[in-house]
Amino acid sequence: MRCDVCGKPASVHEIVINNGEKTEVHLCLEHAVEAGLSIPSAQPIAKLLAGQVRKKQRPVTILCPHCGLSLSDFKKSARLGCPHCYDSLGESLEAAIMGTQGGASAHHGESPTNASTMEANRLLRASLVRELEAAVSAEQYERAAGLRDRLQSLAEDDGPERATGADGQ
């Protein structure tokens, strides 16, 4: 079923009876909230996501290239694998999140304070090194070359910062 308004996958289905006339209404969460319909609350997220994904993919399909999360992994734990999953899983996750969050579709409120870029780079470097090792051992040379470039540009960015000792270390 598709949303009557925008055509996205519908999550709320209502039967409206008006003057003895029965009409079915199908809406995505966003438009259901707008229409003042009650949102099915607290559905298990794994079930919701599985419902979204299954239409297109098999359970073993890798959903996130960064961490290798598959649909069956997610169904088992109901946990994502890494921060990139939020982009990798795309629309399926979007619908699942809105389903468990009462129709909310974006964050509102605080954003992070200025985190130390030094620590950020250190962590990023560590994760790139690991990815690089994995790419090399899997003989994915093209990917490895890309990762090496990113590591190199990261090292250049780091130079002046290290010289001024921005992080007090």
Binding site: S41, A42, I45, C67, G68, L69, D73, S77, A78, R79, L80, G81, C82, P83, Y86, D87, L93, A96, I97, T100, Q101, G102, G103, A104, S105, A106, H107, H108, G109, E110, S111, P112, T113, N114, A115, S116, T117, E119, A120, L123, L124, A126, S127, R130, G168
Partner: protein, 356 residues
């Protein structure tokens, strides 16, 4: 490690403490570019725990916290942390590298490698949602100076479970609802909670019964509204509503059942004054009933402060610290627990018993 100082949240005082025992606020955070704990390798998990520990040590306002390596402390110390409500059973017994920083007798703590890389939690006695949020936020901001938190322009702070995404905030109040339980209003409460997107759990979290008529009420929605707005829902609407509901149930119950209520209270006190063996679960149940008697004004000589601290002191590890016995075992435990309760209730009395 010795956590012998009673933790603040069992102090049993604070606003609306006849109903609200404690308030807890948790903020979940993860590190940019780092695999979540569920899929992290041993090396990655070690690096994350070290990064959190380093951030605590570097922060001017956090460096006074005590760092505990959960893989290095004894199983009994871990059990003590569980009894305190500082960590869950799962975090306590997991196998991966993990640790925590604790300040002020557990009023504020930071968990590294729980379900998320970082979980900041603040606990206060009574109904103090705003203060708990402020305390948790101070720690989160101090950590944020040294740790890059994963943040998404649309989804906000990213969490391992999408049900926590956005603010990563969980507000949870531990409420004592003996009169609502006694008068069969728990299903009504559960229906109302569902409608308001609130979760209701037992004393020890998910899947536990409502031991001693204690319930944890917490938000399920973490996205789309700011942390302050979500917290305000609790302090302005949810908590006052719950408190009023339970108080009304207490008044109505006492009015309709004066003698049964007095009889019940008197029997409970007599039982606690004369027991010789007492299992943990039974003790919790009886302390919950005594709490009802106190809230109805029927029991003299027992305060909420005393009852809250007893609920902690009768737990196995706390009992063992307070009363080191020559031998430890279930029987010894039950003997010591009964002795502690008899002593605590020696001068407690029930009013109205001699009226006719």
């Amino acid at each position: 490690m010795r956590l012998v100082t009673p933790s603040i949240w069992t102090a049993g005082e604070g606003p609306d403490s006849d109903v609200v025992m404690s308030t807890r606020v948790r903020l979940a955070r993860n590190l940019q570019e780092v695999t979540f704990i569920g899929r992290a390798s041993l090396i990655q998990a070690t690096e994350t725990a070290q990064a959190v520990q380093r951030a605590v040590a570097r922060s001017e306002s956090l460096k006074g916290m005590n760092w505990l390596d959960l893989t290095a402390i004894t199983a009994r110390d871990r059990a003590l942390l569980v009894e305190r409500g500082l960590v869950g059973e799962h975090f306590s017994t997991a196998n991966h590298p993990r640790g925590m920083a604790i300040a002020d007798h557990g009023e504020v703590s930071i968990l590294a490698n729980e379900e998320d890389h970082v979980r900041v939690q603040a606990v206060r006695s009574g109904s103090r949602v705003a203060q708990a949020l402020e305390a948790a936020r101070d720690v989160e901001q101090a950590l944020g100076q040294h740790l890059p938190f994963a943040f998404h322009s649309r989804w906000g702070f990213l969490t391992a479970c999408p049900t926590n995404v956005g603010t990563g905030l969980r507000v949870s109040v531990m409420v004592s609802l003996p009169a609502m339980a006694l008068t069969g209003q728990v299903p009504r409460l559960q229906r109302a909670a569902k409608e308001l997107h609130l979760a209701i759990r037992g004393f020890r979290g998910e899947g536990t019964g409502h031991e001693a008529d204690l319930f944890q009420v917490s938000n399920q929605i973490t996205l789309g509204r700011s942390a302050s707005e979500l917290a305000d829902d609790f302090s302005r609407a949810i908590v006052p509503e719950l408190v009023e509901w339970e108080r009304a149930a207490r008044r109505a119950y006492l009015q309709a059942n004066r003698w049964p209520a007095i009889d019940r209270a008197a029997r409970e006190v007599a039982m606690l004054q004369s027991c010789r063996l007492m299992a943990r679960d039974e003790a919790m149940k009886r302390l919950g009933r005594v709490r009802l008697g106190v809230s109805l004004g029927l029991i003299q000589g027992a305060s909420y402060v005393q009852l809250s601290s007893l609920m902690l002191r009768i737990q196995p590890e706390h009992l063992a610290i307070e009363r080191p016995a020559a031998s430890h075992g279930v029987e010894q435990d039950r003997l010591e627990r009964a002795r502690l309760l008899r002593e605590s209730f020696a001068s407690v009395s029930v009013s109205g018993c001699d009226a006719s």
